[in-house]
Symmetry: C2
Subunit: 256 residues, 2 copies
Amino acid sequence: MAEPVSPAGSIAESLKSLGLTKYEALVYVALLQASGATATELHELSGVPRASVYPVLERLSQKHLVSVSHTTPKRFNPVKPDDAIDLLMRSIETDATRAKADLSRVYAQSARPARGDQELIWSIHGDDQIRTRLLELLRDAQESVQIIFYWDHLKQELIDTLLSLRDNVRVDIITDRFTAPVPDRIHVTLRIPPDSHGITAGKCMAGGVFIVDGKQVMVVMGSKEEGFTALYSEATGFIRFFTMYWNFFLSWFRPQ
Amino acid sequence: MAEPVSPAGSIAESLKSLGLTKYEALVYVALLQASGATATELHELSGVPRASVYPVLERLSQKHLVSVSHTTPKRFNPVKPDDAIDLLMRSIETDATRAKADLSRVYAQSARPARGDQELIWSIHGDDQIRTRLLELLRDAQESVQIIFYWDHLKQELIDTLLSLRDNVRVDIITDRFTAPVPDRIHVTLRIPPDSHGITAGKCMAGGVFIVDGKQVMVVMGSKEEGFTALYSEATGFIRFFTMYWNFFLSWFRPQ
DNA sequence: TAAATGTTGTTATCACAAAAACAACACAGG
DNA sequence: CCTGTGTTGTTTTTGTGATAACAACATTTA
């Protein structure tokens, strides 16, 4: 008996992040399958204890997700799922925009001193966050950008950003392959890393080193499976290490 | 000392509906005011117990809302609030669309028998839900629409819906005033209800009765303050009662 | 140098509230 | 009578909130 791709449990998970509890989700899903059902029917269909069905439906009613009949036994009708989810989303969006406004105000007001990033190494998690910070970093380049690039994603976005730099910013890229057409602005050097050490820089591995103006370094590590982690630093030791690493790559491995 | 319009507590409320806990919200807000702070500083700024700051920041890091330094003491940096909230919203939206798809499939698949609404009276809560169901109801009118209308909102939307009906559907409205220009299609009768019984049908009260084809009735009650409640029924007794009510209004009160 | 002090990061423990799960009861209708 | 409904409690569980204690390390002080 093949389970549907999204069994009730999975749906419940999605609904929970919209502010519903497990029981609320289960009962609502059950009610969709049996509009006009009684509390007992919903209990049987959803597996929720019968006594719990009543308070749960009360909450769902207050959230405007079900309507209730005035008969005995009480019968219940679900709000159409599209309307229901739009309703929940709208409520969340309201909070989101308010939060965004408030937080931005707080963030802008806070005196952010030219902070002592100089000696620190920062961990950044989350693909989006890494992408944002990376492009931000590259956009601010004044003199040079040095890149070691074994990262499948981000090709086009990266190039676009690099091309938007001022003309006097020198851009060097070391990579194993570069499928996209490469404008003249960007100096590309092909280098194959040694795959003798077990893991090839294939699909399972990805990463990159980005050195900006010889003053800022961002290192991206990870794989598609586990997600990415990035390190960012302006610490001199950190920069020295990865500049050396970059030169090492440039001179050591065989050109393609 | 005047509190800002949105103190930290209020912001925390908004953030909670985006999936953060109280502590996560407090620490994040504190961190916005002091980028690059240490755990102890955040403890002092946010009021969150120092020991709790570490797991909280760990969770925030997993949610990609902060980056962490590798120094001792650890220092933390917030993701910019716009990016952070966009990130949270995108995650929720993903769940929402998946839930919508799944639920719609469930809802469509469920054999919805020509359900025995006939003897039931349904309670509907929530302004949006009431509006949706009401317009839905009116759109399906085949022969006649009878309305008692003491409801300030919904004027234009209501008229638009009524005008979209087929020509042979007779539309009668009883109301105390009708500010909008009334097309010929709609027969409007002005009746002032007795205001002797205490409450006038003024701003504090609002309501309406909608009888469709003499077979479906929706009654909307409530006030702007407490929100609205609606009753819907196809029960013959219910319909008889409100049809009588309608005729009563039409014949009893003095014309304006 | 050695003891005292303070800070950081970590762990364990407890309190508390909401949700989940179960038991019991009054009551209506057949 | 019995069945099923609606309601009321009570217990268990879970996640969060809150406090205390501890080891590791650095700093100060005698």
